[in-house]
Amino acid sequence: MNAIKKPRKITNTFAKRWAEFVIKFKWPVLITTLALAIGLGSNGNMEFDGDYHVFFSKSNPELEAFDALQEKYTKDDNVVIVLTPSNGDIFTKENLSAIEELTAEAWNTPYSSRVDALTNFQHTSAQGDDLYVDDLSYESSTKTDAEIAIIKQKALKEPLLVDRILNKSGTVTAINVTVRLPGKDSAKEIPEVTAFIRNAISDFKTKYPNFEIHSSGLVPLNTAFFESSMNDLMLTMIMLIIVIITTFILTRNIYSTVATFIVVMFSIMSAVGFVGLMGIKLTPPSSVFPTMILTLAVADSIHILITMLQKMRKDGYNKKEALVESIRLNFMPVFITSLTTVIGFLTMNFGDVPPFWDLGNITAFGMTMAFLYSTTALPALMAILPVKVKVKKETSGPEKISWYKSLGHMVVKQPVRLTIISIIVIGLLTFLATKNRFNDEFINYFDETVTFRTDTDYISENLTGIYNVEFSIGSGESGGINNPEYLRKLNAFEDWLNQQPEVVHVNAFSEVARRVNRSMHGDDENYYKVPDSREEAAQYLLLYELSLPFGLDLNNQINVDKSETRVTVTIENIKSADMIAFSDRAEAWLQNNTPKPMHSIGVSPTLMFSTLGFRQADSMFTGNIIALILISIVLMFALRNFKLGLLSIIPNVTPVLVGFGFWALYKAQINTGMVIVFGMTLGIIVDDTVHFMSKFLRARRELGYDAKEAVIYAFETVGKALVTTTIVLLAGFAVLSTSSFALNSYMARITLIIIFSALVIDFILLPSLLILTSKKNTSKETIKELNPQVQLDK
């Protein structure tokens, strides 16, 4: 018996010595930890990266394919400025002049390479025997009403304009500014473009108040990412206030509150230092790290402080004794729970989305430091601060039965019934959980409080789609894009695409070939088809290209070798799965209807985001299994009991299933941010199980209670602590759930459900299972009593 008890004694002795050491050298310890926190913190560097590329790992095949396409043609990001004149008609002298003016200003956008607008659209026409290519409306202020009527007529017939730059009724128009970001420092380049555009828009609004203006595009998307990172970082302030209030309510002691505040600040300073040292640039998912660390770190301090104050208040210990006793009792549990949390966060590295690697690593580091500070700086501070409490007489009397105890009584009366009900409820919710569908529509990452979202919604309702899919269609030979066979097939693909219900607009080179052919034949509509011979096609193209002005060439559509062309398909707002299905359908059409060189895969940022959730889920699967195994091993070690370690998997896994089941009733759409919750919440909710099981085992083995009595004992001893930590966690994730960024807010919301479910399961299902499994083993009880040791006493 003694031999077996030894390890526990060793840890207890270790914790006790640790506490005594810290108290003895309280000043040196405090100064050392302060120096460490400041040392790390001084390396801190908060830089943000808003470029949407950060969501994709270097090896992401969709990103590689998209980059390859951009290298072939032009690499471009864009800003769409959408203008809606209040008179409901774009085609007036004043409105066209205003558009011309803003278009000219848009050319001054930093890094701009191209500006497409209604007025500078290169209209192709035949004038006698000559090809005439010119701006659709140049110097509009000099035009007569009759000329403007002709411009309107031309514009509304132009397939390259309608549903892209102009809506069908001629009431809304867009200016599309293409920028070529050097990509050296996106934290500098993107704000530069954004500031210019915002300025240009506000100047324009002052001069032309009759225009309503909305803007969207990839640069505003990046800006929205950028700004939501900063907003989410601001949530830290709210969380800090909540930490202070919660600590004060729970400990009812000002010095404890101060000490907790210092410990969490040290932890965050260290994490910020880690960000700087590792050169991590913050993104929306990783910018929530301070709130995460605050939420998780404060629990460590609260456990230690509550025990200490209880020992002083109830048991009349003096401050030093109470502190040593509290450290002795809490060292292991705090260590184990920190360890499991760190494991949970580190599993994010298994995923395929780099911002979550950063979030996992920063939080894991912060938690490690929080453990260190909670066991050093915290007791040192408490030893220094003049903590005084009133010693309470046992006024309430032993006969008063606590709420937790009565809950325990209720559970032990009907373990079979509760187990069956739990299993039915969990089973039902697990079934529902399978009804969730991945959806990573990046527009919906932002809620309606974000201008980017509302502007984009306006544009997709009134003008064109925001999502697109691109194909690079090869001809298999140099100059082969002028081969009539290629042009006919490309034309057929264009036609097929236009027939698809989700397609808003198609931009294909075959349209250019048709248009020029028509103009070469005196604008005869019968020639609105691709040319019949290769020489004709090539020479018409040469003529057309010679006629185009600066910045409006075909280099964004044709590669240098003239062997491939780019097809851009604009799509309605549809769900990720439908987007992938559409791209697959188009790829299959090419395979069935065109020769091999023309086969191509669909690429675009939209598709990259569409597949992101699936890719993340696939890659996180292994990570989650590893987390589950590792954490179960930690539990078996901590409880020194294989069977209970195995049993613990049930209350640790089921909350996630329940969480996703409720989610199916709430939103039924899951995004990339939610894939990480299994590993993450596992590390957090496992604490409940550990505490409950350890108290149960202690009652069985040390106090010789039977299973039912042991359950009631566990309720009595840890019930309140579990509710307390759950409340702190719920508060933290509730703060995060207010984020305007869905990857963060959805993740926080489902974590709220999971953490709450975990508590309910630990109070209902876990004790029932403990009673049921113990019953079967009553005969072996003597053997079992020899085995075990409980590490996690309080």
Partner: protein, 257 residues
């Protein structure tokens, strides 16, 4: 106080004088360069154009350029495409004008017709290259405003502002070599938002007829797209004695055959 104002006026007038002379000197350099190249009468040259994208993928075009010098107006030129095969025989005829837009025709062998090109647009890329048509056409003095910037040994740097509002550039920084008959060494092009767009470097200079410097290699780098175009000239012929008759629409049709 009076003194101060006087000094102020004096300073202003000095600035005005120097500004004036910077512009004059710029114009003077351009005129010198123009004069130095006068009298070559006509030339024929083969041209290989190599387009290179960011990844180093290349594409080639072969052309022949004929030029006829004009004394009172801009030069006339004819470009005949020899490759790629599907545009073989396609040729352009250009009459540059000192003032106003140029005239340009294109002969398309596939339909055996001459088409006039709307010359309002000459800022676009020439056959997909990094050269705009305005970079390749005859450099007439009247097409720019000038401002001398600095002297660097033999090299004179002059800022040129295009007169044409449809130009793709706000300005060009042109480096002349004073010692070598004011030949061009380098041009830097600034786009409409006034950021550096392209750099053109002239190299492999050869002196013809003891007077006319011709660069046999011209390399244009686009700094924004990281694409490049190289022009290699060969077999310069100044003895062909081309005449006005070789630069007509009839001649254009003939050249393409």
């Amino acid at each position: 106080m009076k003194k101060l104002i006087l000094i102020g006026i004096a300073l202003l007038s000095i600035t005005a004088i120097t500004a004036q002379s910077a512009e004059e000197r710029g114009l003077q350099i351009a005129n010198e360069a123009d004069k130095a190249d006068q009298g070559f009468k006509s030339s024929i040259v083969n041209l290989k154009m190599t387009l290179k994208n960011k990844n180093g993928q290349t594409s080639e075009r072969l052309l022949i350029t004929r030029t006829l010098e004009q004394s009172d107006d801009g030069d006339k030129s004819m470009i005949v495409f020899n490759s790629p095969k599907d545009v073989k025989g396609t040729s352009t005829l250009t009459f540059t004008h000192k003032i106003g837009s140029d005239d340009q025709w294109l002969f398309l062998p596939s339909i055996k017709r001459v088409k006039r090109i709307s010359s309002n647009n000459k800022s676009g890329p020439f056959v997909g290259s990094e050269f705009a048509y305005e970079d390749l056409s005859s450099q007439e003095v009247e097409k720019y405003g000038y401002k001398f910037l600095k002297e660097n040994g033999n090299l004179l740097i002059v800022e040129q502002d295009p007169v044409d509002p449809k130009s793709g550039y706000t300005r060009r920084l042109v480096t002349y070599n004073k010692e070598k008959a004011y030949r061009l060494e380098k041009i830097e092009f600034y786009d409409r938002k006034n950021s550096l767009l392209k750099t053109l470097t002239y190299s492999d200079y050869k002196l013809y007829k003891g007077k006319f410097w011709r660069a046999l290699t011209m390399n244009m780098i686009n700094h924004q797209s990281n694409k490049e175009t190289q022009l290699k000239f060969s077999d310069y012929n100044f003895e062909s004695e081309l005449s006005e008759d070789d630069f007509t629409q009839v001649a254009l049709k003939r050249a393409g055959k």
